[in-house]
């Protein structure tokens, strides 16, 4: 079976950067979102969360314009008591847990107090794909499953032109091109988490979006909702050579469910950096804690002019690009 979908060769002629439509008012989702924010203050129990979401569902069904307005007003009152902080602290704080069931996903330790973020220097990136290979090895990705967590796009100079990006380029390091690695952005507003019908994927308290492989019903709706193409389905059982299996990462559980980048949760929660960051030969990737003002990412975010992919989608990605 040939599975190399990600190397689709042909591409359209006419094009320019992807631009999402301005989000229209969607009362049901907005109301539920507001509710999710409203229950942020600590001390909220799980049952209270469930209760609030139940109300969210009910509100969604009858969705008149007025009801969500009242709900959001209440939510704003609840959020008003936040302490002051700089923009980076603000971002770290917004990168909160969503649909978190109260205990960490089965293949990870409990989250610490960090808020993880990454900065990728596209000026330094030579498109060598060493991060891709390191990631495949670290995360037990099936060797012929036809996908990788990281997809490196080769772009034309002069614009951020996703529609003309090339994924299956042969030659890396060309001076007339630039390269942009794309992977799960661990968004603070993740459409995939909001779109999962059974809460099989959630944001952990340190901001990492994880998937419970034992709960995923394989509806693949999260792949539809992700604007970064970061989620991948195991159409066949992942095959990894015996000697290369990473015991800290699930393998058989991933058959027939969706998987994606976890910021190497098995490494980063144990104090290491991600496999892709460690593998980068030019140091283009910086990974660290947004809560720590002295971490490399915090310093970069404060001192450099950074941008995020598809900022207009409002997903609040936790991977920044700098060039």
């Amino acid at each position: 079976m040939n599975l190399d979908k990600s190397q689709a060769p042909a591409r359209p002629d006419a094009a320019a950067p992807a631009a999402a439509k301005p989000a229209a008012a969607k009362p049901a989702i907005a109301a539920a979102k507001e509710l999710a924010q409203a229950e942020l203050p600590q001390g909220c129990t799980l049952s209270r969360r469930r209760f609030l979401e139940g109300i969210g569902a009910a509100v969604g069904i009858v969705a008149a314009g007025a009801v969500p307005a009242v709900v959001s007003a209440t939510a704003q009152t609840a959020a008003a008591a936040e302490p002051e902080g700089g923009p980076i602290e603000e971002i770290a704080k917004e990168n909160r847990d969503i649909n978190y069931p109260g205990k960490p996903v089965f293949y990870a330790d409990r989250a610490g107090t960090q808020k993880w973020g990454m900065v990728i220097d596209v000026k330094a990136c030579i498109g060598c794909r060493r991060c891709v290979y390191a990631c495949v090895k670290e995360n037990n990705i099936g060797r012929d499953s036809g996908f990788t967590y990281i997809q490196v796009l080769e772009m034309e100079l002069g614009k951020v032109d996703i529609e003309h990006a090339k994924l299956d380029y042969d030659e890396a390091g060309r001076p007339d091109k630039w390269y942009m690695p794309v992977q799960c952005m661990q968004c603070a507003e993740p459409p995939c988490v909001y779109g999962c019908p059974v809460k099989a994927t959630w944001k952990e308290p340190d901001g990492i979006v994880v998937i419970d492989y034992n709960k995923c019903i394989a509806c693949r709706n999260c792949m539809i909702t992700c604007p970064y193409g970061a989620r991948h389905f195991n159409w066949k059982e992942p095959e990894v050579p015996e000697k290369e299996i990473n015991p800290k990462v699930p393998l058989e559980e991933k058959a027939g469910v969706v998987e994606k980048c976890t910021f190497c949760i098995q490494r980063t929660r144990a104090g290491e950096t991600t496999a892709c960051t460690a593998a980068c030969p030019v140091g283009a990737r910086k990974f660290g804690d947004l809560n720590d003002p002295d971490s490399e990412v915090s310093v970069l975010l404060r001192t450099r002019r950074v941008w995020r992919l598809k900022e207009e989608a409002g997903t609040e990605p936790m991977i920044w690009y700098v060039g």
């Binding site: 599975l3 979908k5 992807a18 139940g54 569902a57 529609e163 459409p191 059974v198 394989a218 193409g229």
Partner: protein
């Protein structure tokens, strides 16, 4: 009404939950009936085998891949749900808008609606790699996921349809309850279809889906294709002597169909203009929609427009509208057009993935096709058996004109009309 009070035992009938099932009709059914049934049964068995293969081998036997995460099953889900809602709209118009000319159709329409939505639900179930995990939809439903709403709506709607059919046949609660059921069923049909459209429209990641006009398009496509299918179904049943309808009923149905088709085409054209107009064109939209006019995807999308406008043209002419052949042709054209439209709408999200990579058109694998054909066979089996066994013909005293129950022109002499009472 006479059916309900008629409690005396009759030859060949089995009374269960207040309905007289005419099992005897099956015993005297002709060889062609049973040949058709065995064909359906064979197809169903093939479908079940294919599903078994899919469950053991995994998704690799499907043609779906990461760039085409949804395939034939989702096209069929949208399609069947739409057909179902459309049939119900006809039935509801009898009660809500006093469209008495459609009264003879009511039981058939409700049966068709129930069977179709059952097929839609089975489309989802047969796609799941581990169907038993669907229980999580009930245990931990996520209120922000559109799928939760459409899935639950389809389930409840199926129950409503079959309950409604039971009420119509037994006559329990009389006209009043039938009317009240319509008040529940019709808004629910709209709700079901709105939530189905939301599964596509509420995604900012997929440019062409992310449009509010998706919802009305779904509703009109549903109604139009549902009416068209009901018309075909009514013709087929009349051909086999199960029903007798007046030509004026078919003419009213054609007028309704033509109206809905033109609204449906209009909404699509409005969307196309918004995508391509110089002052509104966004690169992400234009690049993707262009695939459906000049790329490989045009093979599926252009026929949608051609068949849609063609069907309208056929039904628009006052002089030709009453001819059964014209009505049947137009109805068939539109049922096909809507299937292609569902496929195109789905592909609009996938033709170019969120990272700008082109995906060649999805074409279902053998396993997927067999599963879908098996489901279709199951639905047809329900209808074929239902046509024989269930008292689908509405007794004459429930509608002023129409149905001459005696002397149904048995083009198949071996076929016995299912309806003999009243």
């Amino acid at each position: 009404m006479t059916m309900a009070e008629n409690t005396e035992r009759r030859e060949g009938y089995v009374r269960f939950i207040g309905i007289d099932f005419h099992v005897g009709a099956l015993r005297v059914a002709g060889p062609r009936y049973w040949a058709f049934m065995s064909l359906l049964f064979t197809l169903l068995m093939l479908g079940i085998t294919a599903w078994g293969v899919a469950l053991t081998e995994g998704g690799v036997v499907m043609a779906m891949r990461d760039n085409n995460p949804w395939g034939l099953w989702f096209t069929n889900y949208m399609y069947y749900v739409g057909l179902s809602a459309g049939g119900l709209a006809v039935y509801a118009s009898v009660h809500l808008f006093g469209a008495k000319q459609f009264a003879p159709l009511s039981r058939l329409a409700v049966l068709q609606a129930g069977v179709l939505v059952m097929m839609a639900l089975l489309s989802i179930v047969t796609d799941m790699e581990r169907p038993w995990r669907a229980i999580w939809m009930l245990v931990t439903p996520n209120p922000t996921a559109p799928f939760v709403y459409t899935g639950s709506a389809a389930g409840i709607y199926m129950v409503i349809c079959f309950l409604d059919l039971w009420i119509l046949i037994t006559g329990k609660g009389g006209e009043k309850l039938a009317h009240r059921m319509t008040l529940i069923a019709l808004p629910f049909a709209v709700y079901l279809h709105t939530t189905t459209a939301f599964v596509l429209a509420l995604n900012k990641s997929r440019e062409l889906w992310h449009s509010a006009v998706m919802v009305p398009i779904f509703l009109t496509s549903a109604t139009a294709s549902g009416i068209a299918l009901l018309m075909i179904c009514a013709y087929v049943m009349q051909r086999y002597g199960i029903f007798k309808f007046t030509s004026s009923m078919f003419r009213s149905l054609s007028t309704l169909l033509a109206t809905v088709i033109i609204i449906d085409v209009f909404l699509l054209v409005v969307e196309i203009i918004t995508v391509f107009w110089k002052t509104s064109a966004q690169p992400g939209h234009v690049v993707r929609f262009a695939q459906f006019f000049t790329g490989e995807y045009a093979l599926a999308f252009i026929p949608v427009l051609v068949l849609g406008i063609g069907a309208f043209a056929l039904l628009a002419g006052r002089k030709t509208r009453h001819i059964p052949a014209v009505q049947l042709t137009a109805a068939t054209m539109y049922v096909i057009a809507i299937f292609l439209k569902r496929y195109s709408l789905m592909s609009m999200g996938f033709a170019i993935n969120p990272l700008g990579q082109y995906t060649p058109p999805y074409f279902p694998s053998l396993v997927e096709t067999l599963i879908a054909v098996g489901l279709l066979a199951l639905g047809l089996m329900f209808m074929t058996v239902g046509a024989k066994v269930l008292p689908l013909q509405v007794p004459e005293d429930e509608h002023g004109h129409g149905a001459h129950e005696s002397g149904a022109p048995g083009s198949e002499s071996s076929e016995t009309p299912a309806f003999e009472a009243a």
